[in-house]
Amino acid sequence: MMSCWRMEKQMLPYVDGRLKVSEQREVEAHLADCAACRLRVNEFRAVSGLLDELPQIEPSGAFDARVRARVAAEPVKQSWWAAFAPSPRAALAASMLLLATIWIGSRPAPKMPGESQNAAVNPANIDPNDLPVLENYDILANFEPLTDLPQPVQGDDSDEVDGNQAM
């Protein structure tokens, strides 16, 4: 048979009528033999009835309007993926950039003066007639007395230009 201690947890569900049929039978069997629990169940029923007497209040008339106003003031929430959604301006800019890249890439490289059509970086392809020029360049590039010369006023770029012209 159910103890009074176990009955404590079942008492309110019994008063509410929220017990399973088997549990309800067990509780009723206990109540038939236990006057103290029977009294307590009746008192809990009375308390439950008293709680029903408290009136409910109604939200004020402006309640809904205030909630709606706050909802309307909420910022529009976008998912992080939406940041990648193409806008017309971004799409136009991206297209222009792509076209420019293709156009620049398809242009023939500007030819240097004296550069042959078949010139290549591979040393095996170097024309033997160009060797003296390359050797002179190597000597001039490592010629220490030239490093003592004062720096030109125009800047570093002019150095390169001058070097190229010297060649």
Partner: protein, 196 residues
């Protein structure tokens, strides 16, 4: 056929603002009443109820119907109420738990709404007033967690599993909590219980 709470919330998630209005209509009164019984101040209860709805709305994109909608809703409301009570505790004038039962502004409002028209007899009216004030006082005196349990159980009629989830405890612990709350109420309301 009326759409379920979960379906309405899923519709809100899909961008249907009208479904949110239906949820507002469905739960504004239960929420305001629950919060009013918790914080004992009507204006504050309405502010908190608004905050609950705003939080629901903000969370719509991430809503997953893993539990009952009411569990989620009243969990938000409970947390807000308990935080509000904690935050304002130091601001409140110290009200002794043994203070005599007096009718405050909200009590008077309830009286006006629900009793005055029904009971023209002034003596009967006053008796009922005192009775209601006593019941209200008994609920107010309950410890916060017990009060949440009683309010959700008695007035919102949530099942034990839902209330246990809201209070983050087991169903067994909840039943013990409710038993202790009803024991306290039984003692506090003994004069009325005996008459009943």
């Amino acid at each position: 056929m009326a759409r379920s709470d979960v379906q309405l919330m899923l519709d809100v998630k899909a961008g249907d603002e009208q479904s949110f209005a239906l949820l507002l209509q469905r739960y504004r009164s239960p929420l305001v009443n629950f919060l009013y019984r918790m914080v004992r101040n009507r204006e504050q209860a309405e502010d908190l109820a608004q905050e609950v709805f705003i939080r629901v709305y903000r969370a719509r994109a991430d809503y997953v119907p893993s539990a009952k909608f009411t569990t989620w809703l009243f969990r938000i409301a409970t947390n807000l109420a308990l935080n509000s009570l904690r935050d304002t505790r130091h601001q409140r004038t110290e009200i002794s738990l043994d203070a005599p039962v007096t009718a405050d502004a909200d009590d008077r409002e309830e009286r006006t709404l629900d009793v005055a028209d029904k009971h023209p007899d002034i003596e009967q009216h006053l008796v009922e007033e005192a009775r209601k004030a006593m019941i209200k006082h008994a609920i107010d005196k309950l410890p916060e967690k017990q009060r949440v349990a009683v309010l959700l159980h008695k007035y919102q009629e949530l099942d034990y599993g839902e209330i246990a989830k809201i209070l983050s405890c087991s169903e067994s612990a909840l039943k013990s909590l409710l038993f202790r709350a009803y024991e306290t109420l039984r003692v506090e309301l003994a004069p009325l219980v005996a008459k009943g």
